[in-house]
């Protein structure tokens, strides 16, 4: 089903995450391939965020392995920071740096981590800002932006590192309804441009339109997955049917 896509980018092997006595992830094995847009859905508390955050080790797995571009990043000797530079992450609450201008938000990491010159980083930042139509906000501060604009800047900030994959954790859940569209549009643009994406979202329209694969998580496990057509047209798992009947 996923063989039509490129090489394996992320490979997860028997992943477990335990918080105290809570088994948040209960044995997940999965692969993400180049060019895929994988949407993860599931009820609240099913482990979607924990799974996504395990992919760049923001959440340290209790057990299991995560491979990124062929390297075991759960290995203690691996420089995780180098790998994270190639894995962009977008959060529900944007997490822009409030003490920095939009331009500084975008150029900070490329300048400090990729040793780009300020001019070079700025040039790239302005290109990206033009892409999202926010070039006139370059010198504004995050507090001067709407939620939708903040999230688009957060996406740009990640893109400035030229990541190989983008991870999204409910990027539109904190937005006013009228701002959801502009963020989804940008994400669709990225998907069409060939960006590999893993997206946790409740936006079923987005899943149907741009996902190459939809995953249903429940109780810390992947219970079902498939192409959007199969997934929404012919769900097999009982809990998934229940979930879909509630959400659609």
């Amino acid at each position: 089903m996923t063989t039509s896509y490129g090489d394996t980018l992320i490979k997860v092997q028997d992943l477990h995450k335990i918080f105290g006595d809570l088994h948040a992830l209960n044995g997940i094995s999965e692969e993400i391939h180049k060019g895929e847009v994988v949407v993860i859905v599931g009820p609240s508390g099913s482990g979607k965020s924990t799974f996504l955050r395990s992919l760049n080790l923001l959440e340290e797995p209790s057990e299991g392995r995560v491979y990124f571009e062929g390297e075991d990043i759960t290995d203690k000797n691996v420089d995780i920071n180098k790998h994270r530079q190639k894995m962009g992450m977008v959060f529900q609450h944007f997490n822009l740096f409030p003490h920095k201008t939009i331009l500084q938000n975008i150029t900070l990491a490329p300048v400090k981590l990729l040793n780009k010159s300020k001019d070079e980083a700025k040039k790239r930042a302005m290109e990206l800002l033009c892409l999202v139509g926010l070039e006139e906000k370059a010198d504004a501060y995050p507090s001067q932006l709407s939620g939708g604009q903040k999230q688009r800047i957060a996406i740009v900030r990640s893109l400035a590192m030229d990541p190989d994959v983008m991870l999204f954790d409910e990027p539109t859940s904190a937005l006013d309804p009228e701002m959801v569209g502009e963020v989804l549009e940008l994400m669709k643009k990225l998907a069409r441009g060939g960006m590999t994406m893993v997206v946790v979202t409740h936006e079923m329209g987005f899943a149907k339109e741009v996902a190459t694969r939809v995953i249903f998580m429940d109780e810390g496990q992947i219970k079902e997955q498939g192409s959007p057509e199969e997934f929404f047209g012919n769900p097999k798992d009982e809990r998934l049917r229940e979930f879909l009947s509630k959400i659609l």
Partner: protein, 231 residues
């Protein structure tokens, strides 16, 4: 009435250039406060970094325990006692140790404990999402602290830091316990010469009050500035 005042004023401040006790004392007080604040900020910063690194990552366990001990002892004992211990116990055998240096050390060491908690609360007040955003971009722990957390934390605590400076300024008035001639001691010396308590002590009080009012005003302006640039 006015002539009585004039006579007392001359006797307390002009005769034998007694005003110099006040002037020299003021300079000593400002010197001690200034350098103690610098030491306090350095110690406080280091302690706060150790404590919050331990809270966030579980590393630096032993250092963290030492810092906790330091905070407990310093905040649990009077500053005068600390001053006396440093002067008579730690430097007890050292002849001609500068009293100013002792006072700077005592007050700096003392202030460090309070500044540490100010810094720590500042670090804690920065949303954890900021830390995650930094780490997810590929910054390591130290870089995230340096470029993202600390600038925000520092801005949050700047008014509290200035208040600590004001507190310290007043606290140095116990320097007389080690016979350091600070502002308070200067007034007290005049009192012992003229047998007039009111005028020299009133002068001392007015000088402290004036400085505190000026610094408080400064803090208010700073707070307003910070709030208006609160991006």
């Amino acid at each position: 009435m006015f002539e009585e005042f004039q006579r007392k004023f001359v006797n307390n401040f002009i005769t034998s250039d007694r005003w110099q006790y006040i002037a020299d004392g003021l300079i000593t007080t400002l010197k001690v406060t200034f350098f103690a604040v610098i030491i306090g900020i350095i110690i406080g910063f280091l302690v706060a970094v150790v404590r919050s690194t331990y809270d966030k990552t579980g590393k630096l366990k032993i250092l963290n325990a030492l810092c906790k001990l330091y905070l407990t002892v310093i905040r649990g004992t009077p500053v005068v006692v600390q001053l006396l211990i440093i002067y008579f116990v730690i430097f007890g055998d050292v002849r001609d140790v500068s009293k100013i240096v002792v006072a700077v050390m005592a007050f700096g060491f003392n202030s460090g404990a309070y500044v540490a908690e100010i810094f720590r609360s500042g670090i804690m007040s920065v949303d954890s999402g900021q830390f995650e955003a930094g780490r997810s971009l590929g910054f390591n722990y130290v870089q995230t602290m340096r470029y993202i957390i600390m600038p925000q934390a520092f801005k949050n605590v700047l008014p509290a830091l200035c208040n600590e400076f004001i507190v310290l300024l007043k606290e140095t008035s116990v320097s007389g316990y080690i016979a350091l001639q600070d502002l308070t001691k200067g007034g007290d010396i005049i009192r012992s010469r003229t047998y007039d308590a009111l005028m020299p002590l009133l002068a001392v009080a007015i000088i402290y009050l004036t400085m505190v009012i000026i610094f408080t005003k400064f803090v208010e302006i700073l707070e307003r500035r910070l709030r208006s640039s609160d991006h």
